[in-house]
Symmetry: C2
Subunit: 373 residues, 2 copies
């Protein structure tokens, strides 16, 4: 059996038990089709299959390549491109899959609607700006855009509005009230859009990991959000981890100590194997000094000894989505020990904290097969 200490590094590892716990926790709050898991977080059809097994069979994608790869992997029963594209070749490539997959494309302008129609896309969703300055039509223009789409022969399935600017609001009460205001806009848009579109217009899609449990079923506005586009919850990262969400970090980058000096050690994990937009990664029990392209320099806290050359070190990335996008595969491990520094000795000899040897065994490999665009 391959152990963590046998992997060529840098290597992504997934803690299967924490992944399963995260998935179960989310499914309890947003079961089945009330969650539309976001594929951009992991870009892996193997991971997506795990989510489909527990009932989440409709997915959100950010790129045409994700849509096409999901459809080709047999996961195309209800795919949403929650993003605009004006790439005619990619629109046509997605349209060509519609006999075996249902593909819905977000539109937020007459141009994106026209191109979708011209390329043979059948289903669209009106992307509404609910407060974050990014994509999405202004709320007051949503119904007119829906009417225009219908005039082109497009089937408008509903609306989406990503309140991304509210994902990291630290105070839950403040977050709840802001999310409710944003969803108030979205629900109003939906009613106006539906008046243009008819009975197949049913979707109100929003949210993410940071807001997954805010769509209160007893609230007349929030209860109408019928699907949540969360993705990061399954694997988590130190950025989301700081927000007191109930999900646990399940993804690490394993490095190998390649150099030890008087006061610091260096591993072969660097910024080319880590998403760096949320800052430096963390190592349990250690202080990260800095990241280079291929290295992290760190020291140990609390007077602990530096690891020896060849030891494995678990690095917790600050942002999981772009970290995964840098790797070819994720190695799934039965359970990852809760220590930052592993060594062959602690793996094959006595294990701390009552863990068993199987905790470090690689039990599956999930290719990151939906990378690029």
């Amino acid at each position: 059996m391959t152990q963590i200490v046998d992997l060529p590094t840098p290597a992504l590892i997934v803690d299967r038990r924490k992944f399963d716990a995260n998935v179960a926790l989310m499914s309890a709050v947003r079961p089945g089709l009330t969650l539309r898991p976001h594929v951009k977080a992991h870009k892996s059809t193997a991971l997506a299959h795990e989510l489909a097994k527990v009932g989440h069979t409709a997915f959100t994608c950010a790129t045409p390549r994700e849509i096409i790869g999901m459809a080709q992997a047999g996961l195309g029963s209800d795919l949403l491109l929650a993003n605009e594209t004006v790439d005619v070749q990619r629109l046509r490539a997605m349209a060509a899959l519609q006999d075996t997959a249902r593909i819905t494309v977000a539109i937020d302008s007459e141009t994106t609607a026209t191109l979708a129609a011209e390329c043979g896309i059948r289903d669209v969703l009106i992307d509404v700006n609910v407060g974050m300055p990014r994509c999405g039509v202004a709320p007051e223009l949503a119904a007119a855009l829906a009417s225009f789409a219908v005039s082109l022969g497009l089937n408008v399935r509903g609306v989406m509005g990503y309140e991304g600017h509210l994902m990291a609001v630290a105070h839950r009460d403040e977050q709840r009230s802001k999310v409710r205001a944003a969803m108030g806009l979205l629900v109003q848009c939906f009613d106006e859009v539906r008046a243009q579109c008819g009975d197949d217009c049913t979707i109100i899609s929003a949210g993410g990991t940071g807001t997954f449990d805010l769509y209160d079923p007893s609230d007349p506005v929030l209860a109408r959000v019928n699907e949540v586009q969360a993705g990061s919850y399954a694997l988590m990262d130190s950025h989301y981890g700081s927000l007191n969400l109930p999900f646990e970090q399940a993804l690490y980058v394993v490095g190998t100590v390649i150099s030890v000096s008087d006061g610091w050690a260096v591993i072969d994990v660097g910024l080319k194997s880590l998403g760096m937009d949320h800052g430096n990664p963390t190592i349990d029990g250690a202080s990260v000094w800095f990241c280079s392209d291929e290295h992290i320099t760190f020291s140990m806290k609390d007077g602990r000894p530096l690891p020896s050359i060849g030891s494995r070190v678990l690095v917790q990335p600050a942002h999981v989505d772009p970290t995964i996008a840098l790797h070819e595969v994720m190695h799934v491990v039965d359970q990852i020990p809760m220590i930052g520094v592993l060594s062959r000795e602690t793996t094959t000899g006595e294990i701390e904290k009552g863990a068993t040897i199987t905790e470090r065994q690689v039990i599956d490999v999930w290719p990151v097969n939906l990378r690029h665009w």
Copy 2:
């Protein structure tokens, strides 16, 4: 002919004229084997072939995969792994190529020396710490490590010391004096190492793009640095660009405007197609508001109008090396116009600043074929 505006985006583009100018400028200062260009900057054997054509046939690599790929591409006459590895399988894979390639591996400890010898590596370089807390043996231990390596049957070719902490010192006089002090350490180590190793010990390798012209041939210490490991100079980025180096930005990420709102526009270039460790990218004539996974939100400066949906936008990454590592290919363009926002109209119609239509034509594709580890 493919034009910039025809590329699926996000796409890396290289300005061939600026690339050639950067290469010529560097070759004038560090001709032939006095430069050992760093492959980690671009991870492309096609780009490396261009450097070999002008006489730089010895290369620096950061990963075994770069070494192996360069050897397999016929560029293996003198490859240096300027990094430590304790990965036995990768050491053996490199060793297996030594009949057709010369491969020299950096060592900085008895462990790395022993593993190199056990795996059949023939040539090593003593990696000396010249002041940056990362890899490298302490200077006072370099000669003993060389002697140990010789006792294992390894051929010690010399020393390297990367003064990476001095690459971005803004004041040239301060930088010069600090580099000289660091190189004083390295040269002294070399003399001590050579006393242990004999006539094939000749290499004193150091430096990078930020210090390329500081190895003054009239200075008794600096003149002895006989090869410089610069890589970023060929394509440059906005971080190095801020240091008043004579090299020009030759690499951009092309995006497409997918959404325009009242006050901002959005392109399909995001942090998954940009190295983000040096912060946000820049767009000529525009203010970048923020980067998401798949988007940049920006506005135009000086009252200029927002681009229309479908326009192409040139994004200047803050850090070139990790940006390239996110892409599958670089598209080489005859010359890139000096404007941030392109449109099909300005491409096929009248061209500003006297440029000709050929400036936007893709004339070559360089695969980024040495990615990962």
